[in-house]
């Protein structure tokens, strides 16, 4: 298995997250799908770091940590936005948010 196994799982995770983001119409579930994609990227970063030729430094793991923190910031603001918009429109379905289209 080795590196390949650690790259197949992130690929699957990313595909699931991408499908969820495109297929779901619920804003909160779309946010969860974005988190899934970000975590897939994290997993591949750590895997490349562990199997890299110059594996003496922890750059990949550090980068994954930074991505996690950025994802936390993104989730915080995104969830606040979703809560605010659900409160005003009374629905989490993104198809209903069509004021700019009409």
């Amino acid at each position: 298995m080795g590196l390949q196994g650690y790259l197949v799982v992130p690929a699957l995770l990313f595909a699931i997250g991408m499908f969820g983001f495109l297929a779901r119409r619920n804003a909160i579930l779309m946010l969860i799908s974005i988190e899934l994609m970000l975590n897939a990227v994290n997993l591949s970063l750590v895997a490349f770091n562990a199997y890299a030729y110059y594996a003496s430094n922890d750059a990949g793991a550090i980068f994954a940590l930074l991505v996690m923190a950025v994802a936390a910031a993104e989730a915080t603001v995104g969830l606040a936005l979703v809560i605010a918009i659900i409160r005003t429109r009374q629905t989490p379905e993104v198809d209903e948010y069509s004021d700019l289209k009409e």
């Binding site: 430094n57 922890d58 793991a61 550090i62 940590l65 930074l66 923190a69 950025v70 936390a72 910031a73 993104e74 915080t76 603001v77 969830l79 606040a80 936005l81 809560i83 605010a84 409160r87």
Partner: protein, 136 residues
């Protein structure tokens, strides 16, 4: 000679007295910190040590059973496995923490600012308008 000796002796004792007084005042000023540490760290630590020697559970006061808890823990194979895994994780995370606070200190600091901005923005966005009216 006698007057000279006494003339030298008196200032020396005064200096000693003053130094001793200052020493006592220093102890007095440290006292709040000592009380704080004893109340919030020393007392819970002592309680923890005492509970480790009794068979107390959450709702029930225990009685003294000596070192039986420690013997049980060390005989448990799961405890040994958990201890080994904890040590491995501690070593791995230690290198990450060192890198985070030396080579990657600046990104770490910038990230704290980003998270702070995100928290403030989220609080502002998710706040209900009626909360403002209550506050005013």
């Amino acid at each position: 000679m006698v007057s000279l000796a006494s003339g030298v002796a008196i200032p020396r004792t005064r200096a000693l007295d003053r130094r001793a007084f200052r020493f006592n005042k220093g102890y007095l000023l440290v006292l709040p910190a000592v009380i704080y540490v004893l109340a919030l760290i020393g007392f819970p630590l002592g309680m923890g040590v005492w509970y480790s020697l009794t068979d107390a559970t959450v709702a029930r006061d225990g009685r003294f059973i000596g070192l039986k808890n420690f013997v049980d823990a060390l005989r448990d194979p799961t405890f040994g496995l958990a201890l080994r895994n904890t040590l491995i994780i501690a070593v791995v995370v230690n290198s990450l923490a060192k890198a985070l606070f030396s080579d990657y200190a600046l990104p770490f600091e910038i990230l704290s600012l980003l998270l702070l901005a995100a928290i403030i923005g989220a609080i502002y966005l998710a706040r209900r308008p009626e909360d403002d009216e209550k506050a005013n």
